[in-house]
Subunit: 243 residues, 2 copies
DNA sequence: CGGGGCCTTCGGCGGGTGCCGAACCGTCGT
DNA sequence: ACGACGGTTCGGCACCCGCCGAAGGCCCCG
């Protein structure tokens, strides 16, 4: 990644790569794009322009930088330019960065519509490719309480945890360079939840199996009736904790 | 942290906090300062100015931004202004960011002096408050091979691992909000090594007990003769792996 | 084949910011 | 008490970069 960065430097003390990478994130419009793309989907340039509130021409230049920097991957289809986050590590980086921001610095919603949308997001949402919000926390806590996930000495699945995934019919790609389990700090709950290969597999399975459905066009997800049963049977999660 | 950031925004889609935080890292001079401060020590403003190759007045302004943004903490002593990384999570953020940069993008050393210093750094160094380089990898691998650290399902100490730290006389602060074990991606070896509370405690103990000593004014560390014995007895690390 | 939608390129504008040198202030040493 | 030194403030300069509108290209659809 970061293919287009110059390496010309007089002193090896300098860090052009680091500054250039941070520079890609250091613009409000580009940051808004990356946060929007954290939903894991591919957006068109026009959608992002309207979302960020800038002219299409302006956004086109931003996309050029983000794609050139390796943060985004693009896919041209006819007259549309679809763009998505290039790699999970990019999503992780944006998440980590966002988690550094003090909670009280985050803007509060003003309108009722934004408030209800916000509370839906707080209940449950996807964070790139895994579950977050109160739902993500509840699942992570349940895994931990049942001895399937270990958080007290780090963050890793246990052997019973591996068997649980197998028993639930959720295959885990173990050959991946990506870590099997990783902590992602939730920026509404300020608590870690399950990310990594296992987090992504669990989220995908929950959506495929109809345990959760996406609501609206945002990242928010809702637990279905079937989901309440499944989460309860498999992890002993109370239905009340999912609402 | 990030106390001085404005929250005035017309749309909650915007992410002024994220962009502002990234903006602090998006300058070559500031990035050079942060990388230098990754040695965990406190530097004076003048040292940093000479290190970065800019006028003292210029660096003073940079320090104002970094301190104001909560990334650095300062301590005034007489006519000196000592500055250090404010919190471990800031160091973690810089490490994560640096790890994103492609290895072949990293500048290669030009002079012989830089090359030898580079190889000393590659052998062993500190990464903020824990061990890195080949030494850090060797220790992490040895912990993993002995079943004290689990990397295959995430990154966490095992129960024998907890007892090992106790038996070695290395106390672990368990009440901390900081994770006990965390993976830090080494940017010379491109492999994870032990960070977090356990990594910091192990590094501090290794320096206190004389297993390692700092060489030069950089982050590089060297394994002593006593260290070779200790690493061998406690973790079965071959002396050859430490050189 | 023509029209409209999506995107990109280009020119130009304005604001932000990194940089320096000069002047100033406080501290430490002599 | 004086000078040296480290750090800061200020003014000014130059550059970079985000923004827009206008114009053009490309693709799809009618």
């Amino acid at each position: 990644m970061l293919g287009s960065m110059t390496t010309t430097t007089t002193r090896d003390v300098r860090a052009p790569g680091l500054a250039a990478l941070a520079g890609l994130l250091a613009d409000e419009t580009r940051a808004a794009c990356l946060l929007a793309l954290l939903d894991g989907r591919a957006w068109t340039a026009g959608e992002l322009a309207r979302h960020a509130g800038v002219a299409p021409s302006t956004l086109s230049e931003h996309l050029g930088k983000l794609v050139g920097g390796g943060l985004l991957a693009e896919e041209r289809q006819g007259r549309h330019r679809y763009v998505r986050i290039a790699e999970p590590r990019v999503a992780q980086l944006v998440e980590d960065l966002a988690a550094q921001i003090a909670p009280d610095t985050a803007p509060r919603p003003h309108t009722l519509r934004a408030a209800t949308a916000g509370s839906a997001m707080a209940r449950g949402r996807t964070c790139y490719d895994h579950l977050a919000g109160r739902l993500g926390i509840a699942v992570t806590d349940a895994l931990t309480a049942r001895g399937l996930l270990r958080q007290d000495t780090g963050f890793a699945l246990t052997d019973p945890g591996l068997r649980w995934f197998e028993g639930a019919g959720i295959p885990l790609e173990r050959a991946s360079r990506r870590p099997l389990a990783r902590a992602c700090l939730d920026w509404t709950e300020r608590r870690p939840h399950l990310a990594g290969v296992a987090g992504a597999a669990l989220c995908r399975h929950a959506l495929d199996a109809g345990w959760c459905v996406r609501i609206g066009t945002e990242r928010a997800v809702k637990v279905t009736a079937a989901g309440e049963r499944a989460w309860g049977e498999l992890l002993g999660i109370e239905a009340a904790a999912l609402r």
